[in-house]
Symmetry: C2
Subunit: 311 residues, 2 copies
């Protein structure tokens, strides 16, 4: 058995039996039993070393984030995670690194009842592709289309921390750094919001660029209020000036918060059931385009580009 066969066995041993897993790792493919009355929700995202995470990232953080960005996509659809497959390409079989990577992956997977059911391990430049599978009751998934004029635009959590952590690099404090390295996919929030939202997506490339996808898919426009963007105490302290802070929050990436368009009257009902802050940051309007305003009018034009990933 070569070293990569050993790795596959290592991951197989880490895999708990899971609901709906008829046959897990170890055959040509996994056999899964989908829930009657549900639709499958599937997504696949790749993280490349030096592009999506710094080469000096801890193995734990790489494992965590590889799964988190995929679960965040499931959250944006309002899905319950079920299973995932891991395609891991590694320059060498470093057991210490693998143990850390598997620990990070498993820590997040356990939190959301996601079970590793298959994948592949190959030798090559470090890169991780995870395919995540979730479920929603038929017809209930949130989409990017469906936003309506008059809808409130809301976001979960706070925006801009990950972008600030990236700017600060090694000088970022651990709590701030964790916002970049170990994002929390908003699974529970997605499950609540799917009953209330007209449209949703997750924020990976910055609110400006990502919200534009909702506008394109829904055929509407938006006004975003810069002073309403939720900022953490760390971000407020580090970037006290509104314009600079708003630019970071609007075009910085890696937030992995949800952006939801919903009727204004549904906001209170949503907040009552959420485990995370929900902040109104703007309004869907008839006129095409995305305008960002503060008290004094236009401050940032829609031409500002979305974040283009590390570095």
């Amino acid at each position: 058995m070569d070293e990569f066969a050993l790795i596959r066995r290592y991951f197989a041993a880490l895999t708990p039996a899971g609901a709906g897993v008829v046959l897990g790792i170890g055959d040509d493919a996994a056999l899964l039993q989908a829930t009657a009355g549900s639709e499958l929700v599937v997504t696949s995202d790749t993280l490349v070393a030096g592009r999506h995470f710094p080469a000096y990232s801890s193995a734990f953080d790489v494992g965590w984030k590889s799964l988190a960005v995929n679960l965040s996509d499931l959250a944006a659809m309002g899905a319950q995670p079920r299973w995932f497959l891991l395609a891991l390409t590694l320059p060498e079989a470093d057991e210490t690194w693998l143990a850390g990577f598997a620990d990070g992956l498993a820590s997040l997977a356990r939190r959301h009842d996601a079970v590793l059911v298959g994948g592949d391990t190959t030798r090559g430049p470090l890169s991780i592709t995870i395919t995540a599978l979730g479920e929603v009751p038929k017809g209930t998934a949130m989409r990017r289309s469906g936003a309506q004029p008059g809808d409130a635009i809301c976001v979960t959590g706070a925006l801009g921390d990950a972008a600030l952590a990236l700017q600060l690099g090694a000088s970022a404090d651990p709590a701030l750094r964790a916002r970049l390295d170990r994002p929390e996919p908003r699974i529970a929030a997605g499950l609540v919001l799917r009953d209330l939202a007209h449209a949703a997506l997750d924020l990976s490339d910055g609110l400006l660029g990502d919200l534009q996808h909702i506008l394109d898919a829904s055929g509407v426009g938006a006004v975003v209020e810069a002073q309403a963007l939720p900022a953490s105490p760390q971000l407020l302290a580090a970037v006290p000036e509104l314009q600079a802070r708003a630019e970071l929050q609007l075009t910085g990436g890696d937030d992995y918060e949800l952006c939801i368009c919903l009727p204004e009257k549904a906001i209170d009902a949503a907040r009552a059931r959420l485990d995370v802050a929900l902040t109104r940051v703007g309004t869907i309007v008839n006129e095409p385009g995305l305008r960002v305003v503060n008290g004094e009018g236009l401050t940032i034009t829609p031409s500002a580009t979305a974040y283009r990933h590390f570095p």
Copy 2:
């Protein structure tokens, strides 16, 4: 929109509407409707340039083979392909290469009614991960376990052509080269054999190493007859000596044929329904271990290692 967003749009345009696709490419995740009474069959395989295919491979062939190795896993379970996700990592957005790659991918996908429903495109060293999803009627999937003493061991098609093509390199004729570059996943054969087989897998690393997985999973042994291994006319002409040919057929990889264990009396029924040759190459036995014999006794010991991928 950056060049990689353009690529994503390019693949989205190539995607036909497909059965069971509630929502395809273009949202945070795809929405799929599984068939009632079925189990999902999922697998994920990565191809790395310079390791799983030569750097000089045509883009068409890389697209074809990336999907073929995954569909071959579905075939080994007896599954009908339904959907797939493509995670494509590219050093640059070369439109000519992309057009060829997409053409190869689409050519094979259309043949087997597999629909591209999502994925990711990132910049980095060339690597392709495909996750394929198929379906089987509940409880009918073939597995590696289940082989019984007395079962005939059969393989589809011919063995060793891909290994010969790899040895010959540029001097291989195009038909032989195609056996390496554009393997035919045995989907139709898998659908037939799942009613008859006790155990199955696909041959990617060579019969010796792959059959051992069935023996391990089933707790049995096997005797393989070297002179029975099916060889193409090209292989017979190029390697006329039995021992040398058998070693190539047993330890060469990339065949992507099926290896099936089934009752001897079921072979004729299988052949009557198959679109490909089915050749008996050995017998499952009680005694542990894998013995390869020809008319004169033991010729190759089980310690011969499986093929370890290009180069």
